[in-house]
């Protein structure tokens, strides 16, 4: 199908983009890479009256100063080639769509779209990153854990834009792993797990981050599993961590998988990720 008609503008600055969105009202939508939005336009799942193209809004910078600051319109493929990016992000990026969609899709777009099965939001929550938004009431920074509300729903207020995400750099005592299962390579995840472990010199886990997605409606940390891992070696508690994770998710059933299966898969992926994070 083809999109329904809409007006289009491509502002030359962030200020102009925010003004255009404010003028456009609630039926104005920002567009960056368009890899989720254009298919939705084609299927007429969304019918915005105005698209505000962010291509020239000056949001395509990457800088590292304690954290990696990634402009909203930085392409996913560019983040995948960014050597300063946390290894968790680089491990997860090959699962984000396909080469062709990563060439076009943006980091900020994936965050703002907030698909519950998207990898970048999961990584941002697992790493305790932040989302920087700008809008009619000025700029504010939110913890990633507070940004995602549920499927396709975020804490963005009307007229606000994601302008940047900040990603902690790898700490020297950190190890991480990303695990995902999908029906086909590049397809939406059925379940996915990100694990980041810090260890002392004796190899004992001192801090743990365990986040699951796709089996949940948003990237979800599992504090119970994290607490279980602290004080272990990681690998020696992997099976217990998986068993506990399986009880903590309540995935929706679909034609592809039963809830029971998705719980079991989430447990298995958790155990596998904990084992590999060494």
């Amino acid at each position: 199908m083809k999109p329904a008609p809409f007006a289009y503008t491509r502002p030359e600055s962030l200020a102009e983009a925010l003004a255009a969105l404010a003028d456009g009202g609630e039926d104005a939508k920002p567009i960056a890479g368009g890899q989720s939005l254009v298919p939705a336009l084609n299927l007429r799942l969304v019918r915005p009256t105005l698209l505000v193209d962010l291509a020239r809004a000056g949001l395509d910078g990457v800088a590292a100063n304690g954290v990696l600051r990634v402009g909203a319109t930085v392409r996913q493929a560019a983040l995948g080639r960014e050597e300063r990016a946390h290894p968790l992000v680089r491990a997860a990026l090959p699962y984000v769509g396909h080469v062709v969609t990563r060439n076009r899709g943006t980091v900020g777009g994936s965050i703002a779209h907030a698909d519950g099965a998207a990898e970048l939001p999961l990584c941002l929550v697992a790493l305790d990153g932040t989302v920087v938004v700008d809008g009619p009431d000025g700029r504010r920074t939110m913890a990633a854990g507070d940004f995602f509300v549920t499927h396709f729903s975020t804490a963005l207020a009307p007229g606000e834009l994601v302008v940047e995400t900040t990603w902690p750099l790898r700490k020297v005592d950190e190890a991480c792993a990303f695990e995902e299962i999908a029906l086909r390579a590049g397809d939406f995840a059925q379940s996915m797990v990100a694990v980041v472990l810090r260890r002392d010199d004796a190899g004992v886990v001192t801090a743990a981050s365990v986040a699951v997605g796709a089996a949940t409606d948003r990237p979800t940390r599992l504090p119970g599993v994290e607490a279980l891992l602290v004080g272990s070696s990681g690998a020696d508690a992997a099976a217990d961590a998986g068993a506990l994770a399986a009880t903590l998710v309540d995935p929706p059933e679909s034609i592809h998988a039963s809830a029971r299966y998705l719980r079991a898969v989430t447990g298995a992926l958790t155990a596998r990720a904990v084992e590999r994070a060494s």
């Binding site: 083809k2 999109p3 008609p5 809409f6 567009i31 368009g34 396909h98 969609t101 086909r184």
Partner: protein, 159 residues
């Protein structure tokens, strides 16, 4: 209506288009470049893949207005009316197509992949995960692309 100016297969094009016009339809209906095929129109099949500023993109998931100021290359840019490129020749000799519907998109994605260096067989398979082919079973396509990697190496990177 919005005026756009872009380079398509080396030719400067200036047109006035509706913002909702997809790049695929601009190429096919506006410019008559029907080598770019339209399959699913929602980013699943990969048949519409073209190069935009040197990287492969799905033509059905890019608005023509978004390509304003850009450089687009379609399957017509490979051989034109001249002899087939090495990659196209390899597709022919490996029987990497039957009906040919998916072929233009795969050729463009493979062209980008090969331009980035020497992909492994695994990387070729990963790239192909973004393309649906219902005839070949994919193996001949992987073989055809892989053969071009090898011949590039053997030729010392020469054209």
């Amino acid at each position: 209506m919005t005026e756009i100016e872009l380079t398509v297969n080396g030719r400067l094009v200036r047109e006035t288009v509706e913002p909702r016009l997809l790049l695929t339809d601009f190429l096919r209906h506006g410019l008559g470049l029907t080598g770019t095929h339209v399959g699913c129109e929602h980013g699943v099949c990969g048949a519409c893949t073209v190069l935009l500023d040197g990287v492969s993109v799905r033509g059905c998931c890019v608005l023509a207005v978004q390509a304003d100021g850009g450089r687009v290359e379609t399957v017509e840019s490979l051989a034109g009316r001249g002899p087939l490129t090495r990659l196209q020749e390899s597709f022919r000799s490996h029987h990497a197509l039957q009906c040919g519907f998916c072929t233009p998109g795969i050729l463009m994605a493979a062209t980008e992949l090969l331009s980035r260096g020497t992909p492994t067989r695994g990387e070729i398979v990963d790239m192909l995960s973004g393309h649906l082919c219902r005839c070949t079973g994919y193996t001949p396509i992987v073989d055809a692309i892989e053969a071009c990697v090898d011949s590039t190496r053997a030729g010392g990177g020469g054209a």
